[in-house]
């Protein structure tokens, strides 16, 4: 088969780091080629170079055998390379059609009149050609995430893309939408398109691709045909050492009810019900996981429990105290620790020192402050102690929190929350964006809380994480708890059925007799 794209000896240096180190990558016509690597491995950088958003420091790119210099997205698009970004590049209050034609608008009167009728027509034609159904007049802010992704793909196809680069496309999709995407991609290759998928999700690699290239710390590790490899091999290549994908969880007796949630209703920012009358309990010494596809109410659930969002109705009790609708300060004082989903947005003040971050939430309490006056000696001492205890890699406690790596930032947050020794720990997506080493650390600590008879509420999108850590798994779908499975009985299939709307009975029936290999 002909090589559509060849990247030879690509090196990209940013101040302080070598993002790509003499990387070779090629794409054959009609194939789906996955670029696999951990976060920060350099895969997005490499593709950004191909798409012209960055320029390589050295190395060459060949397109259909001809050497090319891709100076910007316009040049890439002109060649026929299109990119669907992880964070959608769509203007919310424009229509689907307006977004698709942006940059390539049909016009009359030498460019002085925007021809929207023609635009809608063209969009319709491309949509029909590739079987990607959309409503050209819908506003982006009104459509679902899956549809928005389709708009992004259409955008690239509209511009005549032959090569499609998709960056972490499955991060925001339901399992069903992921399957649909797989079908769409196959259809596109049948129409002669060639596709590059950037991902760190091992499972999607196997199901969707023809070839996989593994990149680690800026260097290519290996490039193989998908059919010749398996999950464990890929994981090891990605990380560089044998990775334990299951954890040691011991049997445990649970204690009193720590958290009790009754008929909780929470509205989202559109004033629609995101959490619709949810009830559950978490006991001391157990990990209750809330599993589900992103966007089914988990975010609102956590925010309501931690006081960051209003509770519409229902009751929340912590160790017998009513904390329904309480503000964050009261929730913290009642004994709740919270590892937030977005550590940059919520978890840390990046421009402040590590020391000041490590007291966030109890900064007004002795010994850190008395009568409103801060005690910086105590604060610094505290910082030093936590850094040591939790192995946070940093020169000292006076550096800005933003200068730490993602994994170390998460360690700092965990250090802070654990210091509080809270009866209830809420961990929302605690391992998002972390490499395998950091993930191991977080899992170990969470299980530690469980060992010490604390209650842990884990909200996660990663089924493996959920199945490894949880004693019980509550599946949330469209704001409701569809069912609660015992950790031992849970299989991916059962969870998958419930996560996409099936009932618990269906899941138990169809969910399979034996536990499928839970290793990714």
């Amino acid at each position: 088969m002909a090589k559509v794209v060849e990247m030879k000896n690509i090196t990209k240096i940013f101040p302080g780091t070598v993002a790509n180190d003499r990387v070779d990558f090629d794409l054959e016509k009609g194939e789906i080629h996955v670029l696999l690597g951990e976060n920060g491995a350099g895969k997005t950088t490499l593709m950004n170079i191909l798409y012209g958003l960055y320029q390589q420091t050295s190395g060459e790119i060949y397109y259909h055998g001809k050497k090319v210099d891709i100076k910007g997205p316009n040049a890439a698009i002109a060649l026929g390379i299109g990119m669907v970004h992880q964070h959608f590049m769509l203007v919310e209050n424009f229509t689907v059609a307006e977004n698709i034609i942006l940059g390539n608008e049909p016009s009359k009167w030498k460019g002085w009149k925007l021809d929207m009728e023609e635009a809608i027509d063209r969009v319709q034609r491309v949509s029909d050609q590739f079987g990607l159904k959309v409503d050209p007049n819908a506003l982006i802010e009104d459509i679902s995430v899956g549809l928005a992704q389709r708009v992004e793909i259409l955008k690239a196809l509209y511009k005549g893309a032959e090569v499609l680069i998709l960056d972490e496309p499955t991060a925001v999709l339901t399992p069903q939408e992921i399957d649909e995407l797989g079908i769409i991609l196959r259809k596109l290759t049948e129409e002669g398109k060639s596709i590059i998928l950037i991902t760190h999700k091992l499972k999607e690699v196997l199901s969707m691709s023809d070839r996989v290239t593994v990149i680690r710390r800026g260097k290519i590790v290996n490039s193989l045909f998908t059919r010749d490899t398996n999950v464990d091999e890929l994981a090891e290549m990605m990380v560089g050492r044998e990775v334990k994908l299951t954890s040691d969880k011991k049997e445990k007796e649970t204690g009193d009810v720590i958290l009790s949630v009754e008929n909780l209703v929470v509205k989202d920012h559109r004033k629609l019900d995101a959490v619709k009358g949810v009830s559950f309990q978490v006991r001391a010494g157990e990990v209750l996981a809330v599993a589900g596809v992103d966007g089914n109410g988990q975010k609102e659930l956590v925010e309501a429990l931690t006081g960051l969002t209003k509770t519409a109705s229902g009751k929340v009790m912590l160790c017998g105290t009513d904390i329904t609708g309480a503000r964050p300060r009261k929730v913290i004082e009642a004994g709740v620790g919270h590892i937030p989903e977005d550590r940059h947005k919520r978890g840390l003040i990046l421009q402040s020192t590590l020391a000041e971050n490590l007291i966030l939430g109890f900064h007004y309490c002795p010994p850190f402050a008395k009568n409103g006056i801060m005690n910086y000696d105590a604060i610094h001492q505290h910082g030093k102690t936590l850094i040591g205890e939790f192995d946070v890699r940093t020169p000292d406690e006076n550096v800005a929190a933003g200068s730490l790596s993602g994994g170390n930032q998460q360690k700092a947050i965990i250090a802070r929350e654990f210091y509080k020794d809270p009866p209830l720990l809420i961990a929302a997506q605690p391992t998002r964006g972390l490499d395998v080493g950091a993930i191991e650390f977080v899992h170990k600590r969470l299980l530690e809380q469980r060992e010490n008879n604390k209650a842990v509420l884990l909200v996660s999108l990663e089924l493996d994480e959920v199945m490894n850590l949880a004693d019980r798994i509550a599946v949330i779908y469209q704001g409701e708890i569809v069912g609660v499975l015992d950790g031992k009985d849970a299989t991916e299939r059962k969870l998958g059925i419930m996560m996409t709307g099936g009932s618990m009975e269906q899941a138990m029936k169809e969910g399979g007799r034996s536990n499928e290999a839970t290793t990714a």
């Binding site: 958003l53 997205p73 590049m89 919310e92 424009f94 942006l102 608008e105 460019g111 002085w112 955008k155």
Partner: protein, 310 residues
Amino acid sequence: MNSMIALAVIASAIRLATPLLLAALGGVFSERSGVVNIGLEGIMIFGAFFAVWFTHLTGNAWIGVLASMIFGVVAASLLAVISINLKGNQIIAGTAINLLAAALTAFFLELIWHRSGSTPICPDMLTSNPLRVLEGIPFIGDLFKQFTPFVYLAFILVFVTYYVLWKTPWGLHVRAVGEHPKAADTVGIGVYKTRWTCVLISGVLAGLAGACLSIGTVGLFREGMVAGKGFIALAAMVFGKWHPVGSLGACLFFGLCSAIQIQAQSFGLNVPSEFLAMVPYVATIIILIGVVGKAVAPKADGTPYEKDEA
């Protein structure tokens, strides 16, 4: 109250609204592309001054108008460099331009005419109605007696602005840049270039607004003559929800308040003039309270754009 006075008030309102409208339209272009322009006041000061100076130099008020537009662009370039290329704070930049304009024009006044306070009166002005034929229209003909060329220009520009921003491909680019610059960048739209163009356009329009105040009204430049009208224009833009037609309505409303302030005696209206002067400002605050929750401004307004090359 007879129709003579009513007509006079309306004519007054329209004339007073004109400089506000020109500046507000400039603000619309700038902010729709995502650049906050607090410096409208300062650019108006530059426009007013240079219009007068060049009219003195050449004896022709239209050259003065041209000068106001050119120097408006120069002043706006400063804002553009700071806000767009240097990714500086747009509010501080705008405030700085206001201060610089006041100081520089006072300095030039000293330097050129060796006096402070105000320039001598211009040999040529643009204070009369260029379309005399309209004065013949029954009933409302008298209105047109009060109009200057700037009035017609401003009204035309309202529709030009609307058309350009909502009916042309470039307008789509501008609005995309103002809402989601990254998205625009990734489809190859030049964010910096688009913003620069819009800020320069706001310079042209605010410069024109200044010219309107000087050679279009009193025929000279006086220190402090802009007196906050740039800020009223800003208020009008907000009031008008960043839309040219909305801005038109807001400016007419504010112009009406000023007109009533002047004519208050003739109606026997006993409201202290200071309170009438306050109306645009208080009204804007009230409007802001009223539209709380409905996002109306371009989403990326005020945010410098970082092209991610790390």
